[in-house]
Symmetry: C2
Subunit: 401 residues, 2 copies
């Protein structure tokens, strides 16, 4: 985290400081500061021109915290004193945050509040601190802006996650290409080929690359593919001629995100045409993505492309459940969905900039007819345009991979 | 989630309803209601004598939400209307929650607030709803109480996670037992045996059991074992004669949690004695755990046992960094740390009850001398006492496994 970037963001938000509260160092707003340190309940208080103050509530994490190089708030000692007099969890949080805020000299300034925490506790703790004269604003957008353009280390982490993701897709294609057909049923290694079987193969490849799937994945087949976020039950059997949508979003230190649509055997004409059109939309939008381009403008272009071919889109029919029903993409980083935004949005949150990492994922859905298609690449924006971090085939037919 | 349990909890908290706000269905307070449904930003509003109302903000998740059987709040439609008039994320949340609260007829009652959300947004949204006359209290303890005793399905999920965990430990023991020694250095498959090498083996076994490690793990060696929460860098080399603490806490639908301490080659006398004493403390406290027993009383007993052998403990020396420096255990479920508590605590949060799932994990640490020991079992409380879900050897020597 570059101090200059933080100072500018605070200034823009009219805040004297940033307070991140977190249940663990995996909180995206904390991870951007502390990387892979292993902390439980903790907070970070950053103000212009000073080293951020890091607080951790459990003394056993002192070596992990010290390795970050931040100034340490001594919160674990405050916790101990609080526990001695029987304080509740909320009272403990009020005490440690008040000590830190006073130490940084913020009794009068506005504090941008970020991080994730139990909602009930947040409400009680922040109300108590406001009674003491502190003033808090929502620091969520500030953090999303700070996290938007990636550092070199973050880009390396995304690349590693994307590489593992590509290997998992290669394995999916391999299993599908070698599946035995019995009528419409598919079989693998002597048993029915289900979404669960494919998920196990995916998990093994990702694990061997040090990746996990904290948000799960989508392995949807047939009618389930008609609704973009239906994950597909493990027990669902994969069948020839049906669309199979595989959407993987694993995480190392940062996330990757990629989708391909497969069909074993002959796809119907509608599925075939929708797939070709999605591949066209993906390549068109990818070529148009460059520094200074608005995500919302790319979304409009893809809507026009689909509408010209007779599909309903969310552009002209918000809320439509068939056709192109969602946005074109989203930023990817410590969170699966972050800036840049592809919605019509104020300020710079939708402007693509160098070192932004984001997806493009046009899709076409026909829930009534029981199929859906989505093709999604993960991209890194450079001066020269969008670099595809998931350079995989688009083919429906896994044998073509 | 049994309705009767919820009604009693609400009554006890003096609340007319429970509101859970969540960034995804993996939020522990939401997962206990919706299980493995695949939802993003969502909320649940529960009140006595009515089916809970489930809201999801993205229409693409309608099939996942419908499969839960809850009444649906129609929030995705409200979101669409909000977006049309350019509402911010906070304004959208205020709108969907106000609609739901009014629908359930809670304009005058107190609402217990639970779930996890961005802190800044929580602060803004709840303040706005309070201005409209709603009153919110912290529902965190209420949810921890609700989630304390596990259902049959939850126990099955914990058992599966514990089984995978045991398999991962067997693999760890196998790798350590077969490690080649070159002086004090250990080698595996022709290269240096590091924490990272062991982590990869662990991840593969866990993945093959459908488990992940959302909170990471601890593979600490040598001096790092002297500080209980130091995770151990991947690059750290494992060495003969040193303590190797492996603490795994993977998750399927629910978490498991288990720790063993190993030593390849001859342990020093102090390490050997500390290990034997921890095994004794674990077996003693395990035998004493039964319905109605207070977790804090077990902690006191273990402190007495260690103190009788000359070790400093957190019981008589809160804040000590050597000896027995932490609590005896914690409940395990949708969260890694939940009720029962092993701290001196009010009410029933520290009373062990049938179907509670919790750890017992005595440990002894000597950061100055560069070693630490911890032995941890995951237990299910039955009428007959504590059933060990992690029935693994305790031996330091992996060849004895």
């Amino acid at each position: 985290m570059r101090q200059g970037l933080l100072d500018t963001a605070l200034d823009g938000a009219g805040a004297a400081a940033l307070l991140v509260v977190a249940e663990s160092s995996r909180d995206p707003d904390l991870a951007v500061f502390v990387g892979s340190a292993h902390l439980g309940q903790s907070f970070l208080l950053a103000a212009p021109g000073r080293t951020p103050l890091l607080g951790f509530l459990v003394d056993m994490e002192r070596d992990e915290a010290a390795a970050t190089g931040f100034e340490l708030a001594g919160a674990a000692q405050t916790v101990l004193e609080c526990r001695r007099r029987g304080a509740t969890e909320s009272e403990i949080w009020i005490a440690v945050l008040a000590v830190a805020l006073e130490r940084v000299g913020l009794a009068k300034g506005t504090v941008a509040l970020a991080g994730r925490a139990p909602a009930g506790r947040t409400h009680v703790v922040i109300a108590a601190l406001e009674e003491r004269g502190f003033v808090f604003t929502d620091g969520h957008s500030l953090m999303l802006n700070l996290r938007k353009a990636k550092s070199r280390d973050e880009i390396d982490a995304v690349r590693r996650a994307a590489e593992g993701t590509c290997r998992a897709f290669r394995r999916v294609a391999e299993v599908l290409a070698s599946a035995k057909r019995r009528g419409k049923s598919l079989r693998h290694a002597g048993r029915a080929l289900t979404a669960g079987v494919l998920r196990r193969e995916i998990a093994l490849v990702l694990a061997s690359h040090g990746l996990e799937q904290p948000e799960g994945n989508i392995v949807a087949t047939g009618a389930d593919t008609g609704v973009p976020h239906t994950q597909g039950a493990d027990s669902k059997q994969l069948r020839a001629g049906e669309s199979i949508v595989v959407d993987l979003y694993p995480k190392g230190l940062l996330f990757a995100d990629c989708t391909r649509t497969f069909c074993v055997g002959e796809p119907g004409n509608a599925l075939h045409a929708a797939h070709a059109l999605c591949a066209d939309a993906l390549q068109t939008s990818q070529a148009a993505a460059g520094p200074g381009v608005l995500g919302a403008d790319l979304q409009k272009e893809v809507c026009r492309l689909f509408e010209a071919r007779g599909f309903v889109t969310a552009g002209s029919n918000p809320g439509t459940r068939s056709g192109y029903v969602h946005g074109l993409g989203h930023g990817v980083g410590y969170e699966l969905h972050e800036y840049p935004s592809f919605r019509s949005a104020p300020d710079n949150i939708g402007t693509l900039e160098v070192n932004d990492v984001f997806t493009l994922e046009p899709g076409l859905y026909a829930p009534e007819e029981g199929y859906g298609v989505r093709l999604e690449n993960l991209l890194l924006l450079t001066e020269e345009g969008a670099e595809n971090l998931t350079p995989l085939p688009y083919d429906l037919d896994p044998r073509a991979w």
